[in-house]
Symmetry: C2
Subunit: 321 residues, 2 copies
Amino acid sequence: MAVPSIFFGISVLHILVLGAAAGGGFPQWNSNDAVARRARAGDAGTPLRTQSSIAVSADGERWVLFNASPDLRQQINQRRQLQPGADAPLRASPIAAVVLTNADVDHVAGLLNLRESQALAIYGHDRVLDVLARNSIFNVLNPDYVARRPMPVDTVLALKDGHDQSLGLRVRAFPVPGKVALWLEDKNAPDFGTAEGDTLGVEIFDEKGASFFYIPACARMTPELADRLRGAALVFFDGTLWHDDEMIQAGVGTKTGRRMGHMSCSGEDGSIAAFSKLGVRRKIFIHINNTNPLFVANSPERAEAEAAGWQVADDGMEISL
Amino acid sequence: MAVPSIFFGISVLHILVLGAAAGGGFPQWNSNDAVARRARAGDAGTPLRTQSSIAVSADGERWVLFNASPDLRQQINQRRQLQPGADAPLRASPIAAVVLTNADVDHVAGLLNLRESQALAIYGHDRVLDVLARNSIFNVLNPDYVARRPMPVDTVLALKDGHDQSLGLRVRAFPVPGKVALWLEDKNAPDFGTAEGDTLGVEIFDEKGASFFYIPACARMTPELADRLRGAALVFFDGTLWHDDEMIQAGVGTKTGRRMGHMSCSGEDGSIAAFSKLGVRRKIFIHINNTNPLFVANSPERAEAEAAGWQVADDGMEISL
């Protein structure tokens, strides 16, 4: 067993991108546009992407998932870091905890893969934990083994595994503009019943204080959010749509990004413009919708994002901070 | 577009095995036994298997899923039959309907992949549809597009797609001995609250009357079930465990097959013995647990099953009847 680097005081944030795509993945199951067809044909410029999630570890051995995508079983099969190590017991997993940033299906459905009486901790805002409690299907996670722990906003929380052992990671969740999950929308309530806590960003720290941000959904840049992100070492940010109306223009949907709770990458109100003066050292788009041309390696939009200092997340991307 | 064979009166049942494994798949996410390690290392004798589901079509173009496994998105990506055809609209799917045989997580969670406002029909026993109705997460399937239709037992039902068009397939569901889904167990009720309708087998017919059986869970062979299956052309049958106590013996679980609602393959009360005098022409084990040595190509147990006339389902197996 490798000696965790934290024992030498060399605390490092290990980050592994499990999936880069927004809900539905890339290609989406029922997509038949030219880009989806290229992806299915195995075109190297349009690799398949699973649904968005990252894994973070302070010691390279015990990992915390940020969101649990419906593709989680496939993601575990594809990433040796999430598979039991050679010296582990007959039933074991490096996955020690899951932090949920909202209750979107593409962020919570993967929990259903984490059954089989394996100790684990789930962190989420009370709004999100309430949703899990109201959906009995999540009872497949045996409560004798799987702890559900509230993650209040604006509070630094030390993450612990299912046995209450420290994971060497801390997290501070904060509300960002957004929308309640599609499947929880109340058509008769203002803003579809959205309340604070429905959409969170998180800042993730190691024990030395190094940190980065993970914000897979955000409806607009506010002055408070800009202040929070200014000068950050790394931000993973909502890259759902390139243009606010691209799904309508493509004839594959009726909703704008704003309606779905996502700011677009491009345009005056977009994230590229909003980040241009924040001095963030590394900016990575994640949670990218199948209609976003960022998924096409040689697209003008990809070139424009890269020229503005952005990267596009890839499944399997590894970063150490 | 190929001309569907049904137009020539050559009705054929096309069967595609999407996944052969029981809940958790093979290997299971937290398995670290020797066989799981062989599978992850890419050993040709222990190929990876996704969770159990079959797809059936009368015309080779429109498919009905029997159960929707958590691996469904991966299964669609792996099987061209389930991907939109070249001439299909920008948003389209050959998946026309889903028939549910119980409410196990490994049989219903995959429904969460079938969103995006695509017309579709879901068939299930009232007990199963009630469970979906009580779990609001399934509202991600837009009710404007996705019909939920009751499938009463002992009734021949003509399957139709989400637009009420005939699919050239009929199904007759029937109760088999079993158990309510794990996550719905009531510890204070007799038999954990199990009632008729919780576990179904199905007989699937084409329009000429050819048929086969799909029974992914069954706790024991009854005289009624034996009468029903006698002389059948093809039966897919519950292959969860080889020995009733194999999970306990392997040190990876505390439950017997009986406790989980599954009869074992081997032994006096097992399925191999129970089928030995039924004259079923083709017998295929499906819904195979990761602990079952049937998953190891050169195991004595696999040889024993094959000597008794059984096959082991493989992901991607295709059969025409």
